[in-house]
Symmetry: C2
DNA sequence: TATTCCGATAGTGAC
DNA sequence: GTCACTATCGGAATGAG
């Protein structure tokens, strides 16, 4: 990938690439997004950014900084998802209509809650990053993207290969520490309905299209 | 393939498809030639044309007819190969020049023999025809064709899977009677130089192009 | 488990 | 081993100042 350039010179990139940066972190849009919104949070610490994430996250100070920054970034990503998909969402439409005075409140008399976009955002590390600098994936869970091209793409985000940030620190005996799992080559389970495709990636893709249409209208 | 139509109504096809026919045989150009010249000799006998070739060829009367007709057809195929490639052949050029009076005889004083085109023609059955009616392949041995597209194409003509007509009748214990050989999926050996490609069909194809250029100039 | 290109491999559907 | 189409699977190159 060459994520290093983002760390050393984040200000040189357009806002379409670098979402924000500060002394300790850079948040970028993944160049090959595997979901509607897909960002990478890059810690700038030279000490940790070349370590395996499981090792780096053993350090309590580092871990706490990452967790805090990721929580903030996750809010931004949720906002972006709302910006992109809100116009399609029934929950948001009712709330917006009431707020705008275009409609009355719910039969119960309460303001519609609006969609919980934050709940649609996932945050975690890949168990075996192939290259480049340490990065946290922060992404909408839909997996609806032209860049999602094969089984390993999908399974890297929808099996234990994706380790949620909240799971750190990992227990010593955590199975995800093992480097030889078959998660990436196994069947593909739909994140939304649980159906499994053992072989047909194209079949999964068609299904993800359908799920996406329904999900975004929630 | 649908070879049946050639048997019942050979006269209805243009000469580009049906080369000749008589009461007992039809000679056609293979619709998907795997060599510069590639024809199929089809016996019209209803009794034998739906049998496995090994079984049909057990019948002495049938076998002798097929062998005789194939020998004649082979002559035609050799002539066609000469027509197509003769202009590129050094052996033929010298002979033709002498015959035309455009050149003197060889240093030895003899007429150049001209190329033995018949020796370039192969005749045989596939050990496991996949479909259609019984047919003898009569083809130039170059395997130079855009229709030669994968390993099984090549190996079906360049392993014991291709059973020369002269080998009939087969001995009872002939290994080619077995239906589970791995000939088609094994390495590909160049018919001319003997080099073997274990995996790369594209590599073989490039080599066959080179061999063809040299072979046709012989 | 970076992408992209190429090619080898596998299954199907055709009539 | 009929073809033609699609898709899956597998290796290799990739940039660089």
């Amino acid at each position: 990938m060459g994520l290093g350039a983002y760390l050393t010179n984040p200000g040189s990139f357009p806002s379409s690439q670098v979402i924000y940066h500060n002394d300790d972190f850079v948040l970028i849009n993944d160049l090959f997004p595997k979901a509607t919104v897909h960002t990478l949070l890059l810690p700038r610490s030279k000490k940790f950014s070349l370590m395996h994430p499981f090792d780096a996250m053993e350090d309590q100070g580092f871990r706490e900084k990452v967790v805090a920054e990721a929580a903030a970034a996750r809010q931004l990503v949720a906002k972006e998802l709302q910006r992109r998909l809100g116009p399609h969402s029934r929950s948001d439409a009712r709330r917006e209509a009431v707020l705008n005075g275009d409609a009355g409140p719910d039969p119960s008399g309460s303001l519609p809650a609006g969609r919980d976009w934050l709940a649609e955002i996932r945050v975690g590390f890949h168990a075996q990053p192939s290259m480049s600098h340490l990065h946290v994936h922060i992404f909408s869970r839909d997996m609806h993207s032209d860049r999602l091209k094969h089984r390993k793409h999908y399974n890297s985000f929808n099996t234990p290969f994706l380790v949620p940030l909240e799971d750190f620190p990992l227990a010593d005996e955590d199975e995800r520490r093992g480097r030889k799992s078959g998660w990436l080559s196994g069947g593909m389970r739909c994140w939304r309905c649980g159906r499994v495709w053992e072989k047909s990636f194209v079949g999964l893709k068609e299904h993800l299209d359908e799920e996406f249409e329904d999900w975004k209208r929630q």
